[in-house]
C-alpha cells in the first residue's frame, strides 16, 4: 500500500487543505505532529521526574537515588505493557496505574493520591516546558475550525487523555479541537489499527469523509489506509535535522564537557512561533547573560544546600536580578529539595562604610580602599564615603599637622609621603577613632534594626549573594555586625572576585567567586574583567542606590536612597531604559534555563567550559557591532569621587570595551594584542 509521505510541513498542509474539502472529520496525531519536543528523546523528560521522586523519598527517610527510581519505573512499566499485551493487540501502559504501583514500592504506606498528583503535576510541567506547538499546523487547525470540521487528536501514549488535554491547553489550542483520545484509556492503539474503529464508533464518523494526519508511517499511514481513511504522513526533514543536532549535542557532551553548555543553550532555544524577531540586546540577554546568570544561581542553590544555609540574602542592587532569576528557575530545578529562604537586602558600599566603623573604628585598610579610585584624594573623600561630618575632626587633623584637603593619593598633585605617615598616625589616634565611632553609631544601630527586621540574626549560616569584585560590601557589612554574639557565619557567593585587596577570610566570613575567582586560576573566566561595568549595569535593580541607614527618633530605622532627580539619577534612568530589552532577555531565559538544566542534570562545573568560551568570545573577541550594541552609556559609582587627575586618560583602563568603533574595526589585531596583554597582567598578578 502506498503511504502518502510529505517531506515538509507546507507540502503536507497544501495536500491536507485539498483533501479537507472532501471530509467532515480530521484527526491528528499529537506528538511530533501538532506538538514537537525540544529534546530529541522523549524518555529524557522522565529523568528529572525520577530525580524529584528520589529527592522526595530521601526527604521522607527512604534510601533511593535517581537511577534506582528510573529503573523501577521502567521495570514496572514494561511489566504493565506485557500484561496488557496478553489481553489486547497493543502493548500499552497507563501512567496512573504503573506510577501508583511504583510510588507504593518507593514510599510504602506513605504513598497516596496526593503524592501521585504532585509527581504527575511535575511530570506534566516538565513535558509542557519541552513541548512546542507547530505554528503552521495550528494556523491550519484554525482554518479547519472555521470551516466547521470535526477535529480530534488521537495519540498512542502511556498518558491518559486528561493529561494530553493539559498539554494541548498549555500549548493554547484546546479550543480548536473537539476531543483528545489516548490509547492509555482504552488500550486500543493506532499501532494495531484498533483505535480507528473505536473513534469511528464513538463519534459516528464515515471513514470516507475522514482524514488522518500523523508522523508514523504505520500508525498514522498504513493503519488508517487499511481502515479506509485518507491519511497523510509527515516526514519532516527539517525536524529530523533539528533533532539530529540536539541528539549529537547531548551525546558529544557525555565525552566532551565543552558541549554540555551548548546542549543547554540548544534546549533553551525558542522554536516555531516562539522564535520571533527580537532586539539584539534581548538576544544577548537571553543567549549570553541568561546562561551565565542561570548557572551562577544554580551553583548558589547547590552550595547553599551543601553548606546548610538558613537564608540567602541577595545584596542590592545586582542581587535584584539574581533573586528574580532564582525565583523563576530554582524552584523548578530543585522541586524535591528544601531550599533556603531568600531575601533582598538593601545595602551599598556607601551605606555600609559608615555603619562598619561604629564598633571597630576606621581601619587603615578601609582608609586605603577609599584611595583606590582616582577620584578620591583627601580627608573630605574619607568623610564622604564613611558618612562623617568633617568639622569635629579639625582638631584631630591639626594635632597631626593635616587639613581636610591634604592629599593622600599619589595620583594627585600635592601628594607627599610624610602626609600619608601622618594620616596613619591619625588613624592610630584613639581620640580620632572615638569621634569616628560616635558619628557612625546611629547608622550602625539603624542597620541592626533593619537586619533584625529581615530575620538576619535568626540563622547560624547565611549566604550573601552579590556581583562581587573586591568584596568591599561584605567586608564593610561583616565589620558592622561582627560585634554581635548572634552574628551568623557569612558565606559570600559572588559572581566574580578580583581580590584587589586581600579579603579577611575567617570561618565566619568568607567570599568565593563562582564564575571567576582570582584565587582559582581560571584564565578564560578572567575575561569577565574586560567589562565588569556591563555586568553591573545589566543586573542593576531599577531603584536608586542606598545612601545610608537612618535612625528615627522613635527608635525605628529608615533606608535612605539616593536622589533620582539630579543629572546622575536621570542618567541611571536613561540607562535603565536602554538596557530594558537586555534585562527582559535575561528574565525570559530563566524558565527555559531551569527546564533545560533539570532535564540534562548538569551544573555549573559541567557548563564551565562553554561559559568560558562565551566569556572569551563575547568579551575578549567581541565583534564591533556587539560592543557598540551592548556597552552601557552611563554607570554610577558614588564611591568614585569627582576629583580630576592630570593624566586621567593614561590611568583609565585601556580595554577593548572603551575603544571607538573606528579603532575596533580598523586597528590591526586589536583584540589579539589586548588579549595577550590581559594574559600577561593575569600571570603577573
Amino acid at each position: 500500500m502506498n503511504i502518502p509521505k510529505h517531506y515538509s510541513l507546507p507540502a503536507l498542509i497544501r495536500k491536507g487543505k485539498e483533501i479537507a474539502q472532501t471530509v467532515d472529520t480530521v484527526t491528528f496525531d499529537l506528538f511530533d505532529t501538532l506538538l514537537i519536543r525540544r529534546i530529541h528523546d522523549p524518555d529524557m523528560v522522565k529523568l528529572p521526574v525520577a530525580k524529584y521522586i528520589a529527592d522526595l523519598a530521601v526527604s521522607k527517610g527512604f534510601d533511593w537515588n535517581q537511577e534506582q527510581v528510573q529503573h523501577l519505573r521502567d521495570t514496572i512499566e514494561a511489566h504493565h505493557r506485557l500484561e496488557t499485551g496478553k489481553k489486547f493487540d497493543d502493548h500499552e501502559a497507563c501512567y496512573p496505574e504503573y506510577m501508583k504501583e511504583m510510588l507504593a514500592e518507593v514510599f510504602g504506606t506513605d504513598a497516596n493520591d496526593a503524592l501521585f498528583d504532585t509527581i504527575a503535576d511535575y511530570e506534566v510541567a516538565m513535558e509542557n516546558s519541552m513541548l512546542v506547538p507547530r505554528g503552521k499546523f495550528i494556523d491550519w487547525l484554525r482554518e479547519l475550525r472555521a470551516q466547521g470540521k470535526q477535529i480530534l487528536i488521537v495519540s498512542d501514549i502511556y498518558l491518559p487523555a486528561i493529561y494530553l488535554k493539559r498539554f494541548v491547553e498549555h500549548a493554547g489550542f484546546l479550543d480548536l479541537v473537539d476531543d483528545v483520545i489516548s490509547s492509555a484509556d482504552s488500550f486500543l492503539a493506532k499501532a494495531s489499527g484498533n483505535a480507528f474503529p473505536l473513534v469511528q464508533e464513538r463519534y459516528s464518523i464515515d471513514p470516507k469523509r475522514w482524514l488522518h494526519v500523523g508522523d508514523n508511517p504505520v500508525s498514522d499511514g498504513l493503519r488508517p489506509l487499511e481502515f479506509g481513511i485518507q491519511a497523510l504522513v509527515l516526514h519532516d526533514a527539517s525536524e529530523k535535522r533539528r533533532k539530529s543536532i540536539m541528539k549529537r549535542l547531548v551525546a558529544y557532551g557525555l565525552g566532551r564537557p565543552f558541549w554540555r553548555g551548548r546542549a543547554l543553550q540548544q534546549l533553551m532555544q525558542p522554536l516555531e512561533y516562539e522564535n520571533v524577531e527580537r532586539d539584539d540586546l534581548y538576544i544577548e540577554g537571553y543567549s549570553f547573560l541568561g546562561p551565565l546568570i542561570g548557572s551562577f544561581v544554580q551553583e548558589v542553590a547547590e552550595r547553599s544546600m551543601k553548606l546548610d544555609i538558613g537564608k540567602i540574602f541577595f545584596l542590592s542592587r545586582e542581587g535584584w536580578t539574581f533573586k528574580k532569576y532564582w525565583e523563576n528557575s530554582i524552584p523548578h530545578l530543585f522541586p524535591g529539595k528544601d531550599l533556603p529562604e531568600t531575601e533582598y537586602l538593601y545595602v551599598s558600599r556607601m551605606a555600609l562604610a559608615g555603619a562598619s566603623c561604629a564598633h571597630k573604628g576606621l581601619s587603615q585598610t578601609k582608609a586605603d580602599i577609599v584611595f583606590l579610585p582616582s577620584g578620591n584624594s583627601d580627608f573630605l573623600d574619607v568623610c564622604r564615603i564613611f558618612s562623617l561630618d568633617p568639622k569635629p575632626f579639625a582638631l584631630h587633623l591639626n594635632r597631626h599637622e593635616l587639613t581636610e584637603k591634604t592629599v593622600f593619593s599619589h595620583l594627585h598633585k600635592g601628594y607627599l609621603q610624610e602626609n600619608v605617615i601622618r594620616f596613619k598616625e591619625l588613624i592610630a589616634d584613639d581620640a580620632f577613632q572615638d569621634e569616628v565611632k560616635r558619628q557612625t553609631r546611629p547608622a550602625n544601630d539603624a542597620l541592626m534594626r533593619y537586619l533584625e527586621d529581615v530575620g538576619f540574626f535568626d540563622h547560624t549560616d547565611v549566604a550573601l549573594v552579590d556581583i562581587g569584585w573586591l568584596g568591599t560590601i561584605q567586608r564593610f557589612f561583616h565589620e558592622a555586625i561582627s560585634h554581635r554574639s548572634d552574628c551568623p557565619a557569612c558565606h559570600g557567593l559572588l559572581f566574580g572576585v578580583t581580590r584587589g585587596i586581600p579579603f579577611p577570610t575567617t570561618a565566619g566570613n568568607s567570599i568565593e567567586g563562582l564564575i571567576y575567582d582570582k584565587d582559582h586560576f581560571d584564565f578564560a573566566a578572567s575575561s569577565l574583567l574586560y567589562a565588569r561595568d556591563l555586568f553591573e549595569e545589566a543586573c542593576r535593580a531599577p531603584h536608586p542606590t542606598l545612601n545610608g541607614y537612618g535612625l528615627k527618633n522613635d527608635g525605628g530605622y529608615e533606608l535612605i536612597f539616593r536622589q533620582v532627580d539630579d543629572a546622575i539619577g536621570r542618567a541611571e534612568k536613561e540607562q535603565d531604559v536602554n538596557y530594558a530589552p537586555l534585562q527582559q532577555g535575561v528574565f525570559d531565559s530563566a524558565k527555559s534555563y531551569a527546564a533545560a538544566s533539570a532535564l540534562l542534570g548538569y551544573s555549573l562545573d559541567d557548563y564551565k567550559p562553554w561559559i568560558n568560551f562565551l566569556l572569551v568570545s563575547k568579551l575578549a573577541f567581541a565583534k564591533t557591532r556587539e560592543i557598540c550594541t551592548i556597552r552601557h552609556t552611563h554607570h554610577l559609582d558614588d564611591f568614585h569621587g569627582s576629583k580630576k587627575v592630570a593624566n586621567e586618560q593614561k590611568l583609565a583602563p585601556n580595554t577593548l570595551w572603551n575603544r571607538s568603533a573606528f579603532a575596533l574595526r580598523f586597528s590591526p589585531l586589536l583584540r589579539l594584542r589586548i588579549f595577550l596583554r590581559h594574559m600577561r597582567d593575569r600571570l603577573n598578578e
Binding site: K240, S244, I245, R256, W259, E277, Y286
Partner: protein
C-alpha cells in the same frame, strides 16, 4: 536591529558554530584557559556541516531513508 535567537540552521545567532571554530583555532595557538578537552575537531566538523549544510543533506537522506537504512544494515553486517 532585530534578529532571531535561533538561526534557520538551528544554531545560536549570538554564538554560532563559526565562532566556536574561531575559538577552537585560536586555542590551538594561544592558551585560552580551561576548556576541559575543548570542542574537538570531529564534533566541530559534524556541527559545522549540520548547521551550515544540513538542509540539503537532510532533504536527501529523509527522501531515501529506507535505502540508507539498507546500506547501513549491509555496512553493519560487513563490519561486524
Amino acid at each position: 536591529m532585530t534578529n532571531r535567537i535561533m538561526t534557520k540552521g538551528f544554531d545560536l545567532h549570538s554564538s554560532n558554530v563559526g565562532r566556536v571554530w574561531k575559538y577552537y583555532t585560536l586555542s590551538r595557538v594561544i592558551p585560552m584557559g580551561m576548556n576541559r578537552g575543548g570542542a574537538g575537531f570531529r564534533c566541530l566538523f559534524v556541527f559545522g556541516i549540520s548547521h551550515l549544510f544540513g538542509r540539503p543533506i537532510f532533504w536527501f537522506t529523509t527522501r531515501f531513508e529506507s535505502q540508507f537504512a539498507q546500506l547501513y544494515k549491509i555496512k553493519t553486517r560487513l563490519l561486524d
